[in-house]
Assembly symmetry: C2
Homo-oligomer: 446 residues x 2
Amino acid sequence: MSQAPARVIAVDTHDIRFPTSRELDGSDAMNPDPDYSAAYVVLRTDAADGHEGHGFVFTIGRGNDVQVAAIDALRDHVLGRDVAQLCADPGSLFRDLIGDSQLRWLGPEKGVMHMAIGAVVNAVWDLAARRAGKPLWQLLADADPEWLVAQIDFRYIADALTPEAALDLLRRGRAGAGERRARLLERGYPAYTTSPGWLGYDDDKLGRLAAQAVADGFTQIKLKVGADLDDDIRRCRVARAVVGPDIRLAVDANQRWNVDEAIRWTKALAEFGPYWIEEPTSPDDVLGHATIRRAVAPVKVATGEHVHNRIVFKQLLQAGALDIVQIDAARVAGVNENLAILLLAARFGVPVCPHAGGVGLCELVQHLSMFDYLCVSGTTEDRVIEYVDHLHEHFRTPVVIRDGHYTAPTVPGFSAALRPEAVERYTFPGGTYWAADPDTQKGQAA
Amino acid sequence: MSQAPARVIAVDTHDIRFPTSRELDGSDAMNPDPDYSAAYVVLRTDAADGHEGHGFVFTIGRGNDVQVAAIDALRDHVLGRDVAQLCADPGSLFRDLIGDSQLRWLGPEKGVMHMAIGAVVNAVWDLAARRAGKPLWQLLADADPEWLVAQIDFRYIADALTPEAALDLLRRGRAGAGERRARLLERGYPAYTTSPGWLGYDDDKLGRLAAQAVADGFTQIKLKVGADLDDDIRRCRVARAVVGPDIRLAVDANQRWNVDEAIRWTKALAEFGPYWIEEPTSPDDVLGHATIRRAVAPVKVATGEHVHNRIVFKQLLQAGALDIVQIDAARVAGVNENLAILLLAARFGVPVCPHAGGVGLCELVQHLSMFDYLCVSGTTEDRVIEYVDHLHEHFRTPVVIRDGHYTAPTVPGFSAALRPEAVERYTFPGGTYWAADPDTQKGQAA
């Protein structure tokens, strides 16, 4: 009697919100009072191994319930799937989700619906990596190039990256991967820190945290800018004085400017030697970024945390609109779409420096950069993953930063699982934290 | 004793779904079986006049509940607003909704959250027009140019359209508006019809409906293409034979192609003299559209129904990527953002031919084109509004088509209100239609 294959038996969703607005952690020119949140999904199966798959969308508070509703709308696509087949080919589900024509209308391939797909797809990769007994970066690095190429949707990007070109990149990328892996395990992957630079911090706190960052081994820090030019000049001066000339100082405007403002403002900060200007304008404005980049060189232009899919990244690269590709693990449609973006960046020779922070974005994206190092770009030169020291304690396998580097995870999975205590405490509005909070009764976090 | 000002006292939302997939009405290469739906919102006030404001997002079935949840997430911004102030300046609410930094993260300015803002903003315009006793097109045409300019968010578009340039366009646009208005009331605004061309129709039905369209006075029809080239060639041949050489024949690929496919396929249909190729590829691909346009001329390139905001329209115009701007009344953030798009199109001298059909899109968008004719472009030359003969019977003031023209609405408002019977019958899943449908029990429309 043959045994029935294991199936996905539940797609559990959770509205998790952390009250970060109360300390102005995470404050910037566009987002003055975020409550860092996660629309969190857990796939459960009836396999004997008991493994689950975890994923999430990062949001900053209000609307996290809408994001949960969007994940719920995908449930019927996932329930009942054969677990072994699903994990052997996460791309099969990815294609079904992207291809649901009725849901596609709500994007297409952008916004709430697209991020929901990303959470579910990432949960499948988490499950697949756990079942394989490998951290995700290793599962990807061990995979056949042909299989990886089959995980990618080339629709709308084939004019810049064909499957053949992708396969060629991945085959060539393997040369020397063994040595790089040893180095990764020994040294980790370089990080930079945004913790000193939140807009809500005063100069003393900025200076103190900047000095601490250098002492902790970071060679790049980042400051939020864009609300007030005089303040920005003063804060850049404080930071540069503290860190000295050899530490890279990036600045981040969080989309505050029009094209001409971005150019003027960035030039006004040029005396402090900013390494990159991040999100100078709307993430949708490919041509605007190209104009800004031409005007502000040698300051580099970085963007990507709000770039909603591979098609916009393709154009940013085609237009010569950016120097740094900032992938985000939870904005696009999961690992599958990020594979396409890593390969597009490699094809154009542009370094990838991921966006992280938020809730669990560091935990996720480290796997993608480590895979990029091992098998795509083959280098960490001019590459750094953002690091922010928020909320890691709520994850079961939080990132480990050592001497300004992300330590390579060794626990199987995608590092996406929250601790049960965090779910219990910060579920909105019924968790123990929010139930005890008088403002919650108004139906609004913070 | 002064009386308290009237307030918004309710933001009622409804998940309305019509079972259109059962007849393959609306079928195209990307959307084989849509259930045309509306995430419908009704603003109620305590004003003595009893007027309501109606708006909606058009979707094609699954996920309409997510869209409703997104509108619900905006409720707190609207409840309690002073009705007179709100209607005197819909832009005040528009800015607050666009500017909610926590909700903005879910886009920004795209997808489910952005369309929800559009529905609420459009409901305010409906309310404002009802209270003013004017159809919306007339309210806009009677407004001061300065006031109209103040309704627009110029962020991210000022490099292509400044407030000063917008004001100049609107001031110049008024010359001759009185004569145009008389002509509009007499003749209406030209339409074209997509009703013959759905992909699910056989050649007989296509030929019969195409002949009927010409008999009904339409001078342009549209065919869906993109699933199979041989079928498309055959269907274009049938249509061209029926309508003769003088009727414009547009074709619509609904984003099915990559850039090179779009070029190849469009050239293969060139012998039938297509007037425009619509949505040849992803709506996000500005540069791809520019490449296609250069290659397929003199066939015109049209897109816009899925272009998610003014920033992408700006770039399509800057890049010379399209010949026809196809605004949609319910994809962007409502009338305010569409004012920006109409003015951008005018600035670049590109005609606007709106997308319509769906549920109520004809009802809405006619007002915008009529305003464009009276006060912006000043012409209907090479301009047509799409017309599809679906679902109008469910609206309280359905469009009236006469001799291939939209008749100018005279009833106050934005023509957005559904009939109460439609709401009662097609609310999903509890309305009388769906409650009686066995498939509804599976939790899925159709």
